[in-house]
Amino acid sequence: MTDVRTIEVYRYDPAKDEAPYMQTYTLELDGSERMLLDALIKLKKQDETLSFRRSCREGICGSDGMNVNGKNGLACLLNLNHLPKRIVIRPLPGLPVIRDLVVDMSMFYKQYEKIKPYLINDTPAPAKERLQSPEEREKLDGLYECILCACCSTSCPSFWWNPDRFIGPSGLLQAYRFLIDSRDQATEERLANLDDPFSVFRCHGIQNCVAVCPKGLNPTKAIGHIRNMLLRRAT
């Protein structure tokens, strides 16, 4: 039985299109394609002007985030068997489109940079490793695994409204990753850096981020922890 899909893709090339439009493709699958990314690569053979990012094809590099039938996800992890006959693909919402499914992620990266995403410990390093107990290390689980795909932040209404001032779920997940690292010594500096009405407190607990994270991470929970740390600090 042939498996024919209708794939509607957001198209926009600022060099030649006055406005974005949806283009409808018909694609016949032969069973060798497993994930949506495989289908997109097959589509690109039909129409090589179709532009999207991709690299590892196994959900670890975070290149191919896109909005598929209304939900953000990684094309390389979306199994075609779980997708309907009609697939509607748009770029990640809320970020400027460079071309087709390729978005300009600078605002997303800028928020990441704002939280100082690196370990701060200015005491002289020992000759060997800094010790950390398994329990202390376990606190980083569910945080450090972020792949910066932006699926979460671009599904967050608060990030849509204030992408310049609200750090967003991805950046905050990383903020908490360093706040909770037993080796980090900049807790006070980090909290002071976040203590304003926008950076953290624009999160309204909608939890879109949790629903879409392709790595199964929970930014809302991390944000809750930061909130508590900020409130404790204020009292």
Partner: protein, 589 residues
């Protein structure tokens, strides 16, 4: 060249993976003006997909020291690795791993707070006696943890990244000195010359010359193509590692750490067959050895599945808790790419192309070397290469698991230090660029942009891949390889006839893919010609007509030159830096 800007730096690094970012960190921390060109955002580089660990004899779990690591690596390389470089790497290993930890890398921990280490293939204590736990691990996401940590520290150091810039060609002057690269910005199609006193390639491997590969789409051997076009030879390209456990059909990697944690390979009879091939190390023998054993099982009819064409990786006995703690991504990959819950059922696997042992020849400072006036290792001024695109050679004919991440960090740092020293020693102005610096690049681009008809780039790329898979695979005979040479030279003639249908300047991925094919073909030719010429079996090069290793005639490095497909050879460095040489022996495990 009038409207193409020239940007001037102390150093230009091409590639933002583990090697490139370790080097850039060194340079930025020393206050040099450094640019990193990377065709993907740095954390999307393929280092991110490394799973199992980084090798270093910390001795946190059992008795271990760098001498054991050195012995294992020499033996693992099947005596094609250079013993000076191997000594350097194994000695430096503990230090560079501690530095990663100090940078914040989230290694797993032991109850005493030290870094957790797991067993890996070919890692032994006391010179081959018993498996040792040497792989420093962050669950099964070590590459991800490492790459993100390096990016984070580069942000802190203020490294200047040129993200989604692809380097197209190397600039060499009449003296043969390297003066920089020509780059293109994907977003706008604009070109720029990146002029530098040191040009460092950290462009990764060319794993995408094969049809079934664990590698990312971006691994198209760009550095190899650029070097070959600029007259630099490529070394030992016949040696390609097949990783024993790629998911059957999908190619996605399952770390050797699975077997490190106790998983075993089984044939259709349910037998743990590695006990027969490697009575001592069993499933933890080096990768070339395990891959060939799997191939043998399948050939003798003991493969699994309806077509008896795969092997099973069984970890069900480890228990769900242990798997979810140590191998969470493996569990995820099993569900996503094999429809298998590995806590309940074994995963179908096949040996899959994984790693390029060969590459651009260098010395232990990362300086590129090429034959000149009778010296096989004459330095090419201004040019460095590190990581998978390079061949220093620490991996020889077969790389040990976890030595790739180690290679990136040790030689990334070493090259960085050497560049700092060189730049400080010669504060003079940059050498002036040759008048024709851009000509070759502009000609290539203009041919592509003005093509009216021809072939689709990916059709040629796919033909390269199927040819390499069939003619330079796990199983090689003279006839198979000679046919491969003929086919790949035919393909070489098709590459100039690529037709580009997309002429947009904005994020034109079709154009990038077409340009990448010009790099793929160089890596493929180097591999095919070098393989067909080597009349022995060594490491990953298993020649069915010459099944024995031949040290007398073939303990030497291959050098392939693009011009005329010429082959040359140079001796293996058998003399380590400070310790006794390890003389060749038959490899058993």
């Amino acid at each position: 060249m009038a409207n193409i800007p020239t940007l001037t730096f102390d150093a230009v690094i091409v590639g933002g993976g583990g090697a490139g970012m370790r080097a850039s960190l060194q340079l930025a921390q020393e206050g040099l003006k450094v640019a990193v060109l990377t065709k993907v955002f740095p954390t999307r580089s393929h280092t991110v997909a490394a799973q199992g660990g980084i090798g270093a004899s910390l001795g946190n779990m059992n008795d271990d020291n760098w001498h054991y690591h050195f012995f294992d690596t020499v033996k693992g390389s099947d005596w094609l690795g250079d013993q000076d470089a191997i000594e350097f790497m194994c000695r430096e290993a503990p230090k560079v791993v501690y530095e990663l930890e100090h940078m914040g890398m989230p290694f797993d921990r032991n109850p005493d707070g030290t870094i957790y280490q797991r067993p890996f293939g070919g890692h032994t204590s006391n010179y081959g006696e018993a498996p040792v736990q040497r792989a420093c691990a962050a669950a099964d996401r070590t590459g991800h943890a490492l790459l993100h940590t390096l990016y984070q520290n580069n942000l802190r150091a203020g490294t200047q990244f040129f993200v989604e810039w692809i380097a197209l060609d190397l600039i060499r002057d009449a003296d043969g000195d390297v003066l920089g690269v020509v780059g293109m910005f994907l977003e706008t199609g604009e070109l720029a010359v990146f002029q530098a006193k040191a040009t460092l390639f950290a462009t990764g491997g060319a794993g995408r010359i094969y049809a079934a590969s664990t590698n990312a789409y971006i691994n198209t051997g760009d550095g190899l193509g650029m070097a070959a076009r600029a007259g630099i030879p490529l070394q030992d390209m016949e040696f390609w590692q097949f990783h024993p456990t790629g998911v059957a059909g999908a190619g996605v990697l399952l770390t050797e750490g699975c077997r490190g944690e106790g998983a075993v390979l089984r044939n259709s009879k349910g037998e743990r067959f590695m006990e027969r091939y490697a009575p001592n190390l069993k499933d933890l023998a080096p990768r070339d050895f395990v891959s060939r054993s799997m191939d043998q099982e399948i050939k003798e009819g003991r493969g699994c599945g309806p077509n008896a064409d795969y092997i099973l990786l069984d970890m069900t006995h480890l228990g769900e808790a242990e798997i979810m703690k140590r191998l969470p991504s493996v569990h995820e990959i099993g569900l996503n790419f094999a429809n298998v819950d590995c806590t309940q059922e074994p995963i179908p696997v096949v040996p899959t192309i994984h790693y390029q042992m060969g590459g651009i020849p260098t010395n232990i400072h990362g300086q590129v070397v090429a034959p000149k006036d009778g010296n096989p290792n004459a330095v090419v001024n201004g040019f460095y290469a590190i990581g998978e695109c390079s061949c220093v050679s620490v991996h020889g004919a077969n790389r040990l698991g976890t030595n790739s991440l180690l290679d990136l960090i040790v030689f990334g740092k070493a090259a960085g230090e050497h560049i700092v020293e060189q730049v400080r020693k010669s504060p003079a102005a940059h050498k002036s660029l040759p008048a024709d610096a851009m000509d070759k690049t502009l000609a290539r681009l203009s041919r592509l942009d003005n093509s009216k008809s021809g072939e689709y780039a990916q059709d040629i790329a796919n033909d390269i891949r199927t040819t390499m898979q069939a003619h330079a695979g796990v199983f090689r005979t003279q006839k198979i390889m000679d046919e491969g040479v003929t086919k790949i030279l035919e393909l070489d003639k098709r590459v100039p006839h690529i037709h580009l249908k997309d002429n947009s300047q904005v994020f034109n991925t079709a154009r990038i893919e077409a340009l990448e094919v010009e790099n793929l073909i160089e890596a493929a030719k180097a591999t095919m010609l070098s393989a067909a010429a080597r009349k022995e079996s060594r490491g990953a090069h298993a020649h069915n007509d010459c099944p024995e290793r031949d040290d007398e005639n073939w303990m030497k490095h291959t050098l392939w030159f693009k011009d005329g497909n010429r082959l040359d050879y140079k001796p293996v460095q058998m003399k380590p830096l400070t310790v006794d040489s390890i003389p060749p022996k038959k490899r058993t495990f």
